[in-house]
């Protein structure tokens, strides 16, 4: 007996409307994502990588095809539930003006997250931050965090909400190698501890190598899946030609 994959994307077509002209990004594309799996998503700018991630949490509507999460169509979930289960980390995280603690605890005020266990004491929060490599006082103002620290805080905020899948939209772009490695380590640890899965948009091939993950490449408006080795080889060949 084979169990359902965590996420199943079947024959999905994605379109965007820009200046009142429709443009097809992906045509009838499919892939699957299982528990404890990391998939790197690569492709040229504007090829639809972010739109693909957004369509999984219905921040963008697919024009065709089916997206199933845990064997059930994403359309059957309420938006808040879907977005709590499948967390999305944008390229540039946004926070409210305020302290680290306020920003970490804010999501628990939302109706969807009220049933989750709210971290009820400051020691728990501090430990959580520490495992995410952020050793700042809880009353530290978020506007004073560096780019790398902001990404770590954003990741800490998401993992506190206990998602099943994390979608990452180039979280390491613009970060120095140390900060970038930090994010990679956190994500790997999160995956091992929770049996969660990750979709990760990236440009940097070195990140791909460090993650040792399979690759989804957007080519000619479709998704093609590679193992890491075969992807790197195919790129070498293209460069040689």
């Amino acid at each position: 007996m084979t169990s359902d994959p965590l996420l199943k994307v079947e024959e999905v077509t994605l379109e965007v409307t820009l200046n009142s002209t429709r443009r097809v990004l992906l045509k009838k594309s499919s892939f699957q994502l299982d528990s404890r799996e990391i998939l790197g998503i690569v492709g040229p700018s504007g090829s639809g990588k972010s739109t693909l991630l957004k369509s999984l949490i219905r921040m963008h509507s697919a024009s065709e095809g089916d997206i199933d999460f845990k064997g059930i169509s994403v359309e059957k979930y309420s938006y808040p539930e879907l977005r709590q289960q499948i967390a999305y980390l944008p390229q540039q995280p946004t926070f409210f003006e305020g302290t680290i603690q306020e920003n970490l605890l804010f999501p628990f005020e939302l109706r969807q997250n009220r049933k989750l266990a709210t971290p009820d004491n400051e020691a728990t929060l501090r430990d959580h931050l520490k495992t995410h490599g952020l050793e700042k006082p809880l009353d530290f103002n978020v506007t004073e965090l560096s780019g790398g620290e902001s990404q770590r805080l954003a990741l800490a905020r998401i993992t506190l909400l206990n998602p099943t899948i994390i979608l990452l939209d180039e979280p390491t772009s613009g970060l120095d190698p140390t900060s970038s490695d930090h994010i990679i380590e956190q994500i790997k640890r999160w995956k091992d501890e929770t049996a969660g899965a990750i979709l990760w948009i990236m440009h940097d091939r070195s990140v791909l190598k460090k993650l040792e993950c399979d690759v989804l490449n957007i080519e000619n408006q479709t998704l093609k899946r590679y193992t890491l080795d075969s992807f790197l080889k195919s790129e070498e060949q293209t460069n040689d030609e």
Binding site: R58, M59, P90, R111
Partner: protein, 261 residues
Amino acid sequence: MMNEYLQLTYIDILLASGFILVAGIVSLVLRLKFEKTLFVAALRTALQLLLAGAAIGFVFDIQTSWLVLLLAVLMVLLSGREAVRRQKYKLTGAGWDTLISMFVSSFLVAILVTAVVIGSDPWWNPPLFIPMIGMIIGNSLNGISLALERFLSSCKTQRREIEMRLYLGATVNEATLPLFRDAIRAGMTPMINAMTIVGIVSIPGMMTGQLLAGADPRDAVMYQIVVMYMLAASTTLGSLMVVYLVKRRLTTDHGTIRVDF
């Protein structure tokens, strides 16, 4: 005698036009080149008000309820158009939301005031109902425009904050709640400021008018209090409605807010 009401004659108006002459001389001496505009404006003041007076005299004599209501509807439509024209953001359908909000807020409050608070019989008695709803419309218009503009502009400027809340599991209502509150506050603020300073810094036009017409100051004050409260209610209701309707209009069927206006 305090309550003596001095009727003005056309001779008095002619005398008063001497003030316009003063303004004209200033314009001539300083070469403001304003004489012509000033003259036309002064003439328009007299003509428009005389016409309005004649119209009001005619309206106040109407004894048919539906005619009075029709006139009130017309007043809402005309000022609603003005509110839409003034809007900085062109959002398709927002004009309807503005009109509906103006409509409901002004009629509801005007009818409550004339029928229940003042207890006029009939409640649509033109000399009471028409000036009351006129005042309400003017104030609602202001509150609704302010609330709408604030909401639309913060949807644009706070787009990332809204998205962040949605990503973290917020409903559209939860994600826009801070903007919603802020917009209604923006709509209500001028009215609350007016209520705070009334009688200290300014004596409202309606009260001045009643006093000049020889009304007992106590009566004029009581009316003014009712009017202020009524305006507070209608601006609040109008702001609330317009922001609610526009928020619904901007909510997409996939649980996001669109900002393509």
